[in-house]
Symmetry: none
Subunit: 223 residues, 2 copies
Amino acid sequence: MPSSTVENYLKRIFLEQQAEPTGDIVSMKNLAGAMGVTAGTATSMAKSLADSKLVAYEPYGGVKLTARGRTVALRVLRRHRLIECLLVEALGLDWSEVHDEAEKLEHAISDKLLDRIDEFLGFPSVDPHGDPIPTAGGEIRHSALTALTEVEQGAEVRIARVLDQDEQFLRFVDRHMLRPGTRARVLVQDHAAEAVTVQSGKLPAVTMGRTAAAKIMVELIKG
Amino acid sequence: MPSSTVENYLKRIFLEQQAEPTGDIVSMKNLAGAMGVTAGTATSMAKSLADSKLVAYEPYGGVKLTARGRTVALRVLRRHRLIECLLVEALGLDWSEVHDEAEKLEHAISDKLLDRIDEFLGFPSVDPHGDPIPTAGGEIRHSALTALTEVEQGAEVRIARVLDQDEQFLRFVDRHMLRPGTRARVLVQDHAAEAVTVQSGKLPAVTMGRTAAAKIMVELIKG
DNA sequence: TATCATATTTTGACATATCAAAATTTCTGG
DNA sequence: CCAGAAATTTTGATATGTCAAAATATGATA
């Protein structure tokens, strides 16, 4: 049984591997940053994870999940995301405030209870942020998603995923009805200004910078 | 912020204090037994809790909660019992299987979420086992105590207090599992015979005279 | 290529929580 | 009151997870 610290490292490594398209090796600096610990701590944990065959660790290189490590990471993510669903669906919490709760609860819940929750929720495939929920078997399903910066002007899209858990940002997304599942239209792609203008529901259009737009992943509906 | 280990010790001490009617001081042996650790570990933890002013510790004497320690213990108990309610009410788990889940979740839940759960459940006053749920303020609502002679036939009660320190009597109480904290059912109230028949756990029912029954104070759970 | 900034690793320390076993204190029966 | 039993405390060790700071390696650039 991995400790919750180990679970957190593995989860972070998984997420960092996904976030880093330069290659799926995570540096000690990034790992330490993501975990909020010093670089020395990250190094010693990397070694200890490698001893447990949960990561491959190359001195001065970095760290990468093994198959076993990946399985553990996905199990933690499954817990996290199902808990987020539960808090939103059953208890009516706002999707912007469930992340921190789930961060703690994900280490304290049994497989049995998790299965109950899954059943109770009707076996959802994405969490309230649109992030895919890994299966009990430890697999993850991806649909082809595009960043909001990449779609053509005039396109109709469905918001699929928001790649940032920051509460400020989630509130912004909320305010403009850009939650996962909602439809939106891309009115302007201004490459010169590095800005994207989108419009959702009956709200007025909103213009955001490309760094923000890059964090909003969508599925193309038309255009 | 007390660690979850500290929370567990305080909770145990509280429960042991209630269970021990000889006086509310808990010995290292009992504490170690209840926590599943060695006596040496219990001693060193007792000292450390005393340093934090959460318990009063007398070497070779034992340990007793301070007001602060009691407040922490009751907060943990509140979490535990509300979580048990949630698992039974909302997720349909059986009341016999929720204890272990709650044991872990009670340390991983925020006050905010707990309040939501409380509200969602309609502010229950007892958990699925009939144990009272402490208030957010850290007090325990003691329902008014009733003598065993006063309750209706068929009622479910929890033994709360035994108003006699006589060894003979306490042994009798013990033998029939009528210690404070245990649940029992009043099978017969025979006013003509001045006798009460009660039954606890898996033991056969026992009939006692009204003078004896008058010394056993109970809380009404149902009926 | 020599140097310097940056990243990484090592080292020594600390806090928490635990155990086993030795030492000590308290209790109890004769 | 005293000896042995039982409970308690002490001691020394271990595992986990962390930091600060020193030592070392890597990589970019002049």
